[in-house]
């Protein structure tokens, strides 16, 4: 067990990669074996992530140096800086890794039945594992160039999965758009990494954070990094690829795309809080993130109201939910003045991180419901649907849970995190109340959006064409059930979740000095 723990950070990433490389070979042997193989890989990765989470929450940041004699020797003897690639996992990256792995497991479980009658499934499962490996690589690494490489893996495998329904023109078009804007953004990230390398001849995030002096070149690198990662996360003016891609991709893929945009959001937080931790002009950058967040909330919700394609509509609400996360974290960043953060700022960061976890589950459930409706009726246009509640009982119940959770109705988890975001953004000095008012009204509008979906797709009289619609198959219902159970538990006992995993993650995010000392402190 100790062997697994010391090598846990790299095993979590290398295992899905190994699985992805073997899936084509295994699926030549027997397709049924491939599904089981993928699920066992995901279960074992999940077990390793839980092991790592327990250890990181117990005794702080864990460092793993790739290729060094003792795997914790960050700075080699006789040198003043880390030269190898170091995987630095603190409480925040472990939280994100937990979200990614659990949603990947649910997606693989769901797609075993959802994608059953499609060809080329070995390519599908290979890309699914690669997408998971890319996300985990982004979340666990402590090296800036390595972050770029795994960001590229995530965006390429994401685009290939969006284009999986090659028989429809729209999915190729959506994949091209996602790929183009993803590549241009990643190239700007590479340009910023090259700028920082040119100045400090270092690629390790911890070492760079200790060396950075916010010169003109550092500001340009900051702008490129913040712009590219905000675009990959999907904040408003650059959000248009998100509804396109989420509307056209298969439902089980869309959950992974949601978590991949959360991984880009994590990279944005890592840049703003840790890389530029001690030099950042927190007021300006904090307010930039807040403005991006509030714009995302407003535009995401209002545009969702007029959509009539099921998963495209949820794609727009995904943009709005990213806005809530940006608002929560932006308020925290804005209130962070030279190293000390006010208590409402720390609470805001906790609210933002809690909302990341809640929202990944809520949107996941809603996209799975959209997939179940598409699986049973073959249509995803809300104008043609109606009266599905008569036949699809369980899917309707899951949709009601998802609806209550996403739009923040009281007993659900969405409400707990949104309540924290409302209250803390209210106390921000210059414009605080306006922010929380916009956030509250938009949440009500989101409820209206989903009531529209609920009425047009599920309620209403039993239409003739959906007379003999069957409910979603068992394994899809189990996948949705897992998410629904998590949503209800997090909703009823939010404080236990916050105290166990969200508070350490927020403290780890704020405490950039601890991040640096872990690297420069040597063994």
């Amino acid at each position: 067990m100790n062997f697994l723990l010391t090598h846990a950070p790299i095993l979590i990433i290398a295992l899905p990669l190994l699985g992805a490389f073997l899936t084509p070979l295994i699926s030549r042997l027997h397709p049924k074996m491939r599904n089981i193989f993928v699920l066992t890989i995901l279960i074992f990765t999940g077990f390793l992530t839980m092991l790592l989470t327990r250890d990181v929450l117990a005794n702080g940041i864990r460092v793993y140096v790739l290729g060094a004699a003792p795997s914790t020797l960050t700075v080699p003897t006789g040198s003043i800086m880390p030269v190898r690639i170091i995987l630095e996992t603190d409480a925040l990256s472990v939280l994100m890794a937990m979200i990614s792995v659990s949603l990947a497991f649910v997606s693989a479980l769901y797609s075993s039945k959802f994608m059953e009658n499609r060809t080329g499934l070995d390519k599908y499962y290979t890309l699914l594992l690669l997408l998971l490996a890319g996300m985990l690589g982004m979340e666990l690494t402590g090296d800036l160039f390595n972050l770029f490489v795994f960001l590229e893996i995530t965006s390429i495998s994401g685009c290939a999965l969006v284009a999986f329904y090659t028989d429809r023109g729209e999915s190729a078009e959506a994949a091209f758009k996602y790929m183009l804007i993803g590549t241009v953004g990643a190239l700007f990230v590479l340009f910023a990494v090259a700028l920082l390398y040119g100045e400090y001849d270092a690629l390790n995030i911890g070492y760079l954070a200790s060396k950075i002096q916010y010169s003109f070149l550092d500001k340009i690198a900051l702008v490129l990094l913040v712009g590219a990662f905000a675009m990959k996360a999907g904040s408003v003016p650059m959000h248009m690829w998100k509804p396109d891609a989420y509307g056209e991709a298969p439902a089980s893929v869309v959950i992974m795309l949601v978590t991949s945009s959360l991984a880009s959001l994590y990279a944005l937080l890592r840049v703003c809080f840790t890389l530029y931790g001690n030099v950042l002009n927190t007021a300006v950058v904090g307010w930039i993130i807040i403005v991006l967040g509030v714009l995302s909330i407003f535009v995401g919700v209002t545009m969702a109201l007029v959509q009539n394609k099921f998963s495209r509509l949820i794609g727009y609400t995904a943009v709005a939910e990213i806005g809530y996360m940006l608002l929560g974290v932006g308020v925290g960043l804005a209130s962070l003045t030279n190293g000390s953060i006010e208590d409402y700022g720390l609470k805001a960061v906790q609210g933002g991180l809690f909302h990341i976890m809640n929202d990944a589950l809520d949107l996941g459930l809603l996209f799975l419901v959209a997939g179940a409706v598409f699986y049973s009726t073959g249509k995803s246009d809300l104008n043609k649907l109606g009266g599905l509640a008569h036949n699809m009982k369980y899917t309707t119940i899951f949709f009601m849970i998802g609806l209550a959770a996403v739009s923040g109705l009281p007993p659900m988890n969405g409400f707990a995190s949104k309540l924290i975001i409302y209250e803390t953004s209210y106390q921000l000095e210059p414009l605080g109340p306006i922010l929380s008012i916009i956030a509250i009204l938009s949440s009500i509008l989101m409820l209206a959006v989903f009531v529209k979906v609920f009425h047009s797709a599920f309620l209403g009289p039993k239409l003739k064409e959906y007379e003999n619609v069957k409910d979603a198959p068992r394994s899809m219902l189990i996948a949705m059930g897992i998410l629904a159970v998590f949503i209800i538990i997090f909703g009823l006992f939010p404080d236990t979740v916050i105290n166990t995993i969200i508070k350490p993650a927020a403290n780890a995010l704020i405490d950039y000095q601890g991040y640096i000392d872990k690297i420069m402190g040597g063994v």
């Binding site: 023109g169 729209e170 590479l190 007029v306």
Partner: protein, 113 residues
């Protein structure tokens, strides 16, 4: 000023690439624009690592020991292969779009609003 010519060439390449991505209608030209940005960033990485009078960092029959920085070359190797991967994928999506829409103009699209 002469010291900054390589970096100016980099910025011109990246500027051309962005211009092509923003204003060109043909999908293939947009992909060419992206590969222009890629070559610009690769050139930037390489020019960062040059040392005046330096030799390639290879010890086999090396003429001298004043060597150029090896890391940018390693990073550029990675970014060239990534450029190959993205260009190949984008071109195959363009083929797919042409197959369905029988036109590769950015204006013919169905996902809007």
């Amino acid at each position: 000023m002469i010291q900054h010519f390589p970096f100016i060439a980099v910025v011109i390449l990246i500027g051309l690439g962005i211009y092509a991505c923003m204003f060109k209608r043909n999908l293939i030209k947009i992909v060419i624009g992206v590969s222009l940005i890629e070559s610009g960033v690769n050139l930037f990485l390489i020019t960062l690592g040059y040392v005046k009078g330096g030799v390639a960092p290879i010890y086999t029959n090396a003429p001298g020991t004043n060597m150029v920085l090896p890391t940018p070359q390693a990073l550029t190797l990675t970014s060239i292969v990534i450029g190959l991967a993205t260009t190949a994928l984008m071109l195959s999506f363009a083929v797919l779009i042409y197959k369905h829409y029988s036109s590769i103009d950015a204006k013919t699209r169905r996902l809007k609003g």
